[in-house]
Symmetry: C2
Subunit: 288 residues, 2 copies
């Protein structure tokens, strides 16, 4: 049966999403339908879909009682995904713009498959608390297609795995060939997103560390922006910089500029990601 679905298209630093409002959880989107929506030639085209559904409308066990709204994030192939640092800002922007939530009255709590996340307004747009992180000191070397020697990388765990590698110059970063997946040695059991970073010179201005980054996303390829990859990049450079490193970072990716902060919470240090969120257009599509 064909159903007509209203949607809004949005992006955060070029990481783009089809937002599908379904406040009462009445919509049934199969994997095939999500993949059809995300197809860039035959559908709408996006990195994933964000279904906007009331937590209370979810089946028992899936609901997040401490958040009114749940972000049902699906990858472009239809598979369910836990969290997306760019997607959640776009999700928050949608809730705020449509009046479904009032972020100025209180921090916005959004349910995800990785638990409830808190989003607030920030200078760049919106900021999300990505929670705890872990740094893995074990040796890993990374070799991209056109790097003449393999480089050491550091592992960062943000719920999903990252390996961050420092390059020597902007020129080296710009020339990097990421059309094929870089090799990791040893290869992590579940793979990893691989971030190549160039620290600014000087690294810190007015208390803010600055880096440039390109990312090869696990299972995807090079992307314009990866939210957790941006956070991992800042955490890695902060780790290398040692005790004098700042807690505020500015990260430039091909899709734009994002901010990273590290703050102390009761359960340990949290990493927060901030950046813009844009709603581009709205439409209706018939889905078979």
């Amino acid at each position: 049966m064909t159903q007509t679905v209203a949607f809004t298209k949005g992006h955060g630093t070029g990481n783009d999403f089809v937002i599908v409002p379904d406040v009462d959880g009445a919509l049934h989107l199969g994997d095939t339908q999500v993949a059809a929506l995300c197809d860039r030639r035959f559908g709408i085209g996006a990195d994933g879909t964000l279904r906007v559904v009331r937590s209370a409308a979810l089946p028992e066990g899936a609901a997040t009682p401490d958040a009114e709204w749940f972000m049902d994030y699906r990858n472009a192939d239809g598979s369910a995904a836990e969290m997306c640092g760019n997607g959640i800002r776009v999700f928050a922007k949608y809730l705020v713009e449509t009046g479904l939530a009032d972020i100025d009255a209180a921090p916005l709590r959004i349910g995800t498959r990785a638990g409830t996340k808190t989003v607030t307004r920030s200078d760049l747009g919106f900021e999300v608390d990505l929670g705890l992180f872990a740094i893995d000191e074990s040796d890993v070397v990374v070799r991209a297609r056109d790097l003449d020697v393999a480089r050491p990388g550091v592992g960062i765990d943000l719920g999903n795995p990252h390996v961050v590698v420092a390059l020597g110059s902007d020129t080296e970063l710009d020339r990097l060939d990421l059309t094929v997946r870089p090799q990791l040695n040893p290869e992590p059991r579940h793979g990893a997103n691989i971030e190549f970073v160039v620290p600014a010179d000087p690294l810190v201005r007015h208390g803010v560390g600055a880096i440039r980054m390109r990312v090869f996303e696990r299972g995807v390829g090079e992307t314009l922006s990866c939210g957790t990859g941006v956070a991992a990049s800042a955490l890695a450079v902060r780790h290398w910089a040692g005790s004098a490193a700042p807690d505020h970072w500015s990260v430039e990716v091909p899709g734009g500029t994002l901010g990273v902060r590290v703050i102390d919470e009761q359960d340990g240090a949290h990493v927060l990601l901030s950046g813009p969120a844009t709603l581009v257009y709205s439409g209706e599509i018939a889905l078979a």
Copy 2:
């Protein structure tokens, strides 16, 4: 000033377009705005835009008095383009679906920068008369990245230039690396679209010749489908097949299947291209 523009997204065998109705020619779309609409991450995303405008609303000199509707086709970078074999079917589909034209009463005449084209219904969807063509017998050799030897190609002129190369097997076609532009020797002055074809075995069934094709479009890269490239491929294989070759062809490209016919007209042999056209969804976008 921000203006809200209504649009419909459509595609023909994966070659996709933002259709912008502007029947009275009141809309001003600059190159930057077209490029913004066609951006696949930050805009709607498409290979080009098709503005639907009454020929009578165009400035003197640009109008096509023998066609009520004019297809203002622009490339994704905003530059004006002459004709598009896939785009004109999508354009016709839009006129028919919205009731702006009645293709069943008479063949639909559509103005383009390459003159007025005639579109009719066909088994596959719609068929457009691409007009005259020319075969260039001069030697040209083509070498793709992973072909072990250079192969001879034949030049086909359909208003835009093509070089068609035959490969030995489906496997060879499937494995072909078109991430980098194949080399032509000699290099045509204005470049060329390069089509790699594999004739079916047997070539002809029930009077229809069959081929598979992949295309590297000039200035773009590999695409799912190129309308004139499909016609050029059929014309090249028909040329190689000699006097016994059929006038009907079926061409399979990554984006779908198209039909090619050669018919005799008063001014010489014409080539006609037929295939599907799909309207995917409609929406509204605010343009700065």
